[in-house]
């Protein structure tokens, strides 16, 4: 099977992960801009981070046969440093329309503060103006209220619900998101957020419509193979294979291809790799023979 993991922070993962992902069938990924584990202190750090998402990280993934797209935005945590946030919001439009940027994201609420809301609204307006998809991060604390508010504010700004993806849902929030007409994404984490077993039951209960499974794997304890593993569990527990395909490939593709930045035909063709290429002065190789035009299993 082939998989689309529409939320993963590859910049903090290794080439071992990329190889394992390709082997497990992950063919396409989206890397949304987020914080980096500790707060950044200057706008230039965001410039280089955004540049790496549209540049080196895309190249690195392609070297393993994985199509890498990204989302650009100021995350909610760092929106609370208002002096810095104002500078970063000036930078966001300089990266948000580059090739392969499929959404504004991940944006939304963390503590649901006025500063977070100002940054969220500014970026929703940018998305509305340029008909971009929006990837919304939902808060860990007071999640249910945070999700309702993020939907209400997006609606007020005028972002169409079919271009709104609410991430990190659980059993308690999914109904609100689906009723609003937005896409409901689920992050499968081994210990927090959502486990694969619970995900199986959510799909069984709600059906595949507008449900999306992702890994959100990052610099913490997380699993870049969450999507293929959850798909496997769904199949073992009797979920219709067509539903599995919708929730681990097609829905993410449908949601984010609205950006016009995904060449669906190329993505559905069999991927090939050429590791001889270089990005700036870097190769992903350290002396070993490059794989050239090798077929990859995803």
């Amino acid at each position: 099977m082939r998989f689309f993991d529409p939320h993963i922070h590859m910049t903090s993962r290794t080439t071992d992960d990329l190889e394992a992902m390709a082997r497990a069938g992950v063919r396409a990924i989206i890397e949304p801009a987020f914080w980096v584990g500790q707060p950044r202190t200057q706008a230039g750090s965001f410039v280089d981070y955004f540049a790496s998402l549209v540049g080196w990280e895309r190249f690195r993934a392609a070297q393993f046969g994985i199509a890498h797209y990204c989302a650009i935005g100021l995350n909610s945590k760092e929106a609370n440093d208002e002096r810095l946030a104002a500078e970063v919001l000036e930078i966001v439009p300089r990266f948000a329309f580059k090739e392969g940027v499929v959404a504004i994201g991940e944006i939304g609420y963390d503590e649901i503060t006025p500063a977070e809301e100002r940054a969220y609204v500014r970026q929703l307006e940018l998305a509305r103006e340029h008909e971009m998809v929006v990837m919304v991060h939902s808060p860990h604390r007071d999640k249910k209220r945070g999700i309702r508010r993020s939907i209400d504010v997006a609606r007020e700004v005028g972002v169409p619900m079919q271009r709104l993806v609410i991430d990190h849902n659980n059993e308690e929030t999914v109904q609100d998101v689906l009723e609003a007409g937005a896409w409901a994404a689920f992050t499968i984490y081994p210990h927090t957020k959502m486990g694969s077993e619970r995900m199986v039951e959510i799909v069984r209960r709600h059906g595949p419509e507008r449900l999306i499974v992702d890994s959100s794997a990052d610099w913490g304890v997380s699993d870049p193979l969450s999507v293929p593993k959850t798909a496997q569990l769904m199949l073992e527990r009797g979920i219709d294979p067509a539903w599995v395909e919708r929730t681990t490939w097609q829905n993410a593709l449908d949601a984010y291809a609205q950006s016009g930045q995904i060449d669906v035909e190329a993505l559905t063709a069999a991927p090939r790799v050429d590791q001889r290429a270089l990005y700036h002065d870097n190769s992903v190789l350290r002396g070993q023979a490059p794989r050239v035009d090798a077929a990859v299993p995803n």
């Binding site: 410039v47 540049a51 540049g55 329309f97 580059k98 090739e99 340029h130 001889r276 270089l278 870097n282």
Partner: protein, 299 residues
């Protein structure tokens, strides 16, 4: 309006659908009205061009390429994309290009550019007024190991051979073989060869042979008439080798150094068609940089 901008606009008018043409006209008008310097929506429009203009090659025909050469000798948009041409029109629409503010605005755009934008911007540099002001920036492109970026800065443009200092120029030439770019497409190469560049190329030949690796055929281009005794010996060794593209390049290289006797002798015993063609061409006096085109990319 510059002649280059008018030519590119004409090429695009013939290739764009009404909607894309309208977007470009609006964007160019917006750029023309911007205040001097880096502020404003210019970089965003350069990015948005990828969403408004179609993908695909510009594919100028022979007549159109002739017009380009008439506008600027050494400029060849043969490998440009439609997007490159659209972005060049936007750059050339800036009203401040002759001033320091215009240089600062372009530099700001370069520093935030993605791969595709870098390619378009580097390709545009030679069309700007007083392009030698951008020699350092073009040199940055020629230091890139991303082949697409290197080629955009180094190939099919008169800027490097005219504006680079000797150090940057020699680095450009040697770098071409490192990134696998077509050295034969570097404009003005044959007119700017020297003994120091030949020495650098021959050192690289020795390095490759010491490592048991083949010499890229186009590396021999860098010797020109400055091969000297050391170069002649290296070329004759290649001519006697068991790799046909190497023998072909060595024949051309020896002819460039004015040493035809070994080429004649080699032709008498050569049976590989590629090598024979190169030897015959070399003996007939056709051994300029373009004669190496069939050897590009052979490893």
């Amino acid at each position: 309006m510059s002649a280059a901008r008018a030519l590119l606009q004409g090429l695009l008018d013939a290739r764009l659908a009404a909607r894309a043409r309208g977007w470009l006209a609006d964007a160019a008008a917006e750029v023309a009205g911007l205040a001097p310097g880096p502020a404003g929506r210019f970089p965003t429009l350069i990015s948005l061009a990828s969403r408004a203009l179609p993908r695909g090659p510009l594919a100028p025909n022979a007549d159109e390429r002739g017009q380009a050469a008439a506008v600027l000798a050494g400029w060849n948009p043969e490998r440009w994309s439609i997007l490159d041409a659209g972005r060049a029109v936007l750059v050339l629409s800036r009203a401040d290009l002759a001033s320091e503010a215009g240089v600062a605005a372009l530099e700001d755009c370069f520093r935030h550019a993605d791969l595709g934008e870098l390619v378009s911007l580097y390709r545009t540099l030679c069309l700007l007024p007083e392009p030698q002001r951008f020699a350092w920036r073009a040199g940055e492109g020629c230091r890139s190991s991303m082949r697409a970026v290197y080629e955009a800065a180094a190939c099919d443009s008169p800027l490097p051979s005219r504006a680079f200092d000797d150090g940057a120029w020699r680095q450009l030439v040697i770098k071409a073989v490192f990134v696998g770019a077509p050295l034969w497409r570097v404009h003005g190469l044959d007119q700017r060869l020297d003994p120091e560049l030949a020495r650098m190329a021959l050192d690289l030949v020795d390095e490759r042979r010491a490592a048991g690796r083949r010499v890229q055929p186009e590396l021999w281009l860098a010797l020109g008439s400055h091969a000297g005794e050391r170069g002649a010996a290296a070329l004759e060794r290649e001519l006697a080798g068991d790799w046909a593209p190497g023998r072909a390049a060595a024949a051309l290289g020896l002819a460039r150094a004015g040493r035809l006797d070994p080429v004649r002798a080699a032709l008498a015993r050569e049976d590989d068609p590629l090598a024979r063609a190169a030897m015959e061409s070399a003996l007939a006096g056709a051994h300029d940089q373009f004669s190496f085109a069939p050897l590009h990319g052979l490893e």
